[in-house]
Subunit: 233 residues, 2 copies
């Protein structure tokens, strides 16, 4: 009997935004793994900290980000081997993920490496896509609106095209691309009304109108919400 | 002191996919409201049922759906008056919503009617957008992919254009529009690889390849997931 690999969303930051299902799993699973930067703490581990019992085996997957957002895949190769050995020995492993495992999550890298050999279950989590509109008190999309999620690293022409088409747009992965995004939104007349949320549901959460924010201050974990056609009702 | 209006996501169906935050609120809030069809039970009420203590004041907002998806707005007008009276008297009211309140949710109609007069807090929920990929074991979007959410009632030309552009697409609100969607996907060579999920996380959940599903059997609460460029990694 091999163990099951769980991809567990722990939500956007507020530890209470974890689901009962994820909470219950963390109380019983013997091994908990999580990604972390090359130096420093794991965000997923920090979010879930109040819910992780003492004495669990923990596996920290340190991933260094090379320049240009290239990823050190060998870290996932090694982690897949380590986790695979545990699963093969019959123990379950929960990989905890900030937000949701399948919404732009790095869990994908482990999933791709382990899905053929092992049973996998995903426990969905509250992603930034739900947390940011809640924090900004701004409906994300409604009725027959088209909702587009645009990663800010996309090329400028591509961003302009898609911003001209979406009814509701959430722009993610901002950081050093924020200046470019703000310029485009200003050019297109979309700056007024654009909402800005950083670190949603965390103690350092910032919510405001994008027009009031200095693009140089915008971190990676931030979102811009644009609605082209406000819906009455 | 007026009460606070809470928009509370209770998740896609599995009662354990409610957040601790929503669960805790339901234990203490004196009034719980929910939408329901003209006849029959409230889906949100059913999902949250195990978590609602006895003796709460409950408000059922019955909304009849006229032909052509037109909505009986007067139901929300009346509910806003009733809820407004309770808030004005100083009691908090939780409006529970299947999925997430701001992701194509009908909570918007109460929000629009009450936001100017009362304090509002949103507790985000697990939406079908997270639950369906989890059920299908299919990553939703990753890296710099553009994710588009397309309501199936859109015009055919519009759907074709957007399907030709998105890297990852989730098609929602299927039901009687499923036949049209399947024809478009087949024409565009996107049927192979398209995943289908109905009633995600509920006892009657169905997961499969869209090619194996009869469009006539597809309900409103279903999702089709299309990825045009599978990402290696």
């Amino acid at each position: 009997m091999t163990g099951t690999l769980y991809g567990v969303g722990v939500g956007p930051g507020d530890p209470d935004l974890i689901t009962l299902k994820a909470y219950n799993l963390l109380q019983s699973v013997p091994v908990i793994a999580y990604p972390a930067p090359a130096v420093g703490d794991s965000l997923a581990r920090q979010i879930a900290a109040p819910h992780i019992p003492n004495g669990r085996r923990e596996i920290m997957i340190r991933v260094s980000m090379a320049p240009k957002d290239a990823l050190d895949r060998s870290a996932y190769d090694r982690a897949a081997v380590e986790i695979g050995d545990i699963l093969r020995a019959g123990q379950d492993v929960a990989v905890i993920c900030e937000g949701d495992p399948f919404f732009y999550g790095s869990f994908m890298y482990l999933f791709n490496r382990l899905e053929e050999e092992f049973p996998i279950q995903i426990i969905p989590g509250i992603s930034s896509l739900m947390a940011c509109p809640a924090a900004a008190l701004t409906p994300l999309a409604s009725r027959n609106e088209v909702l587009s999620i645009l990663p800010a690293p996309l090329a400028e022409e591509d961003l302009r095209l898609r911003l001209s088409q979406g009814d509701a747009v959430a722009i993610i992965k901002l950081g050093r691309h924020a200046e470019k995004i703000c310029t485009i939104l200003r050019d297109m007349g979309l700056m007024a009304g654009a909402k800005y949320v950083a670190h949603a549901t965390m103690p350092n959460q910032i919510v405001g109108n994008l027009a009031d924010i200095d693009p140089a201050d915008i971190p990676y974990f931030a979102m811009i919400l644009v609605r082209r056609n406000e819906v009455a009702g």
